[in-house]
């Protein structure tokens, strides 16, 4: 890894991220899609967010799954949300819990 690698990475990701974000709206924008497609679209967020929760909770180095302090934090966040606590309380509780678990268990 060199300084060149860093700037090439940043440049390439600037371009590709903008292109990927533009692709859907540019190619399909403003078009009426069949109602069945719209029913599928309505559920994309739920499917993607659930996957992000799983990957960010259990994803470890080198494509492994691990259960660590993050998981305990997420469980506590879930409890906060269940009792209708706000997103910020949930997120804060997750971070504090994970920090405490790490401090107590030393890992």
């Amino acid at each position: 890894m060199t300084g060149i690698d860093v700037w090439v990475t940043i440049g390439a990701l600037t371009v590709t991220t903008a292109l990927i974000r533009a692709s859907g709206p540019v190619i399909l924008g403003g078009r009426e899609l069949p109602s069945r497609v719209m029913d599928v679209i309505a559920l994309v967020a739920a499917a993607l967010l659930a996957a992000l929760v799983v990957v960010e909770t259990f994803g470890g180095e080198d494509q492994t799954l691990e259960v660590d302090a993050r998981f305990v934090g997420v469980v506590v966040a879930g409890i906060v949300l269940f009792f209708r606590g706000s997103m910020l309380w949930a997120v804060g509780a997750a971070a504090v819990t994970a920090a405490l678990v790490r401090a107590l268990l030393g890992g």
């Binding site: 890894m1 690698d5 860093v6 700037w7 990475t9 940043i10 390439a12 990701l13 600037t14 590709t16 991220t17 903008a18 990927i20 974000r21 533009a22 692709s23 859907g24 709206p25 540019v26 924008g29 403003g30 899609l33 109602s35 069945r36 719209m38 029913d39 599928v40 679209i41 309505a42 559920l43 994309v44 967020a45 739920a46 499917a47 967010l49 659930a50 996957a51 992000l52 929760v53 990957v55 960010e56 494509q63 492994t64 799954l65 993050r70 934090g73 997420v74 966040a77 209708r84 706000s86 997103m87 910020l88 949930a90 997120v91 997750a94 971070a95 994970a98 678990v101 790490r102 401090a103």
Partner: protein, 249 residues
């Protein structure tokens, strides 16, 4: 959408986006702390300002930090950004105007804003989404700068449990999403796909593949009571007015 003007919906989006901006700021700080030793403060800040995609930035920085080259880092970043493909397709029917305008609106897609702009029935509110993204952008860049410049003072972000912040953040968004008809099934399938694929595929692929969970929607009409003549916006009751959403908090 509903009667509100696009300016009102933009403002409503901005109000709804503020708490997410606070969380994004903390994640930005941890990105700055992690990225600074790998690429120095300037590159870290430019990265956040130009790419504005947390997961991809963390992934490609991890590759570079482990001694990988640019190509591997770019591929890691692209894989994590590929979810903006299906997200953009979902957004597309709601985005009007010329191609350049549609491309610009797509740039405002970040996970939280996009999810909050989902109005059900396949409809999104682009003005609301742009508004919700606006507070996050400066905070993300400033957070990165703080982390990159004060990393020595801050120390390891994991000590503060900042890595538990991401999944909790997505969980909060998911809980809102699960109120929609059919969403629980789609979420369960999406989570299952992600869990099964994580050990076997490069990072990013499990999340992209999980969008297939939305195909549950094909069977949805049978599961839902169909109200005749209400076809235009069948989920009216679920369209949460942003002001109302705030009051509930």
């Amino acid at each position: 959408m509903s009667g509100a003007s696009s300016r009102e919906r933009l403002r409503a989006g901005m109000r709804a986006g503020v708490p997410y901006a606070v969380a994004a700021g903390l994640v930005g700080v941890s990105f700055g702390v992690v990225a600074e030793p790998v690429m120095g403060p300037t590159a870290a800040i430019v990265f956040s300002a130009f790419v504005f995609a947390g997961a991809a930035q963390f992934a490609s920085t991890a590759v570079l930090g482990a001694g990988g080259g640019a190509l591997a880092a770019i591929i890691a970043g692209i894989l994590l950004n590929l979810r903006y493909g299906p997200m953009g397709i979902a957004l597309a029917p709601s985005v009007r105007g010329r191609a350049i305008r549609r491309a610009a609106i797509g740039q405002a897609m970040i996970d939280a804003s996009w999810a909050m702009a989902n109005r059900g029935g396949g409809r999104f509110d682009p003005a609301f989404m742009i508004g919700a993204t606006l507070p996050s952008y400066p905070v993300w860049v400033i957070g990165t700068a703080v982390g990159a410049l004060a990393g020595d003072v801050i120390g390891d972000p994991e000590t503060f449990g900042l890595d538990a912040l991401f999944p909790a953040f997505f969980l909060a968004l998911l809980v809102e999403e699960l109120k929609r008809p059919g969403a629980k099934g789609a979420a369960a399938i999406g989570a299952g796909i992600a869990l099964v694929l994580t050990p076997f595929t490069p990072p990013g692929v499990p999340i992209l593949a999980a969008s297939l969970g939305a195909l549950m929607g094909i069977w949805r009409p049978a599961a839902d009571p169909v109200i005749p003549d209400a076809g235009a916006e069948p989920e009216r009751s679920l369209i949460v007015d942003p002001a109302e959403r705030e009051q509930r908090r």
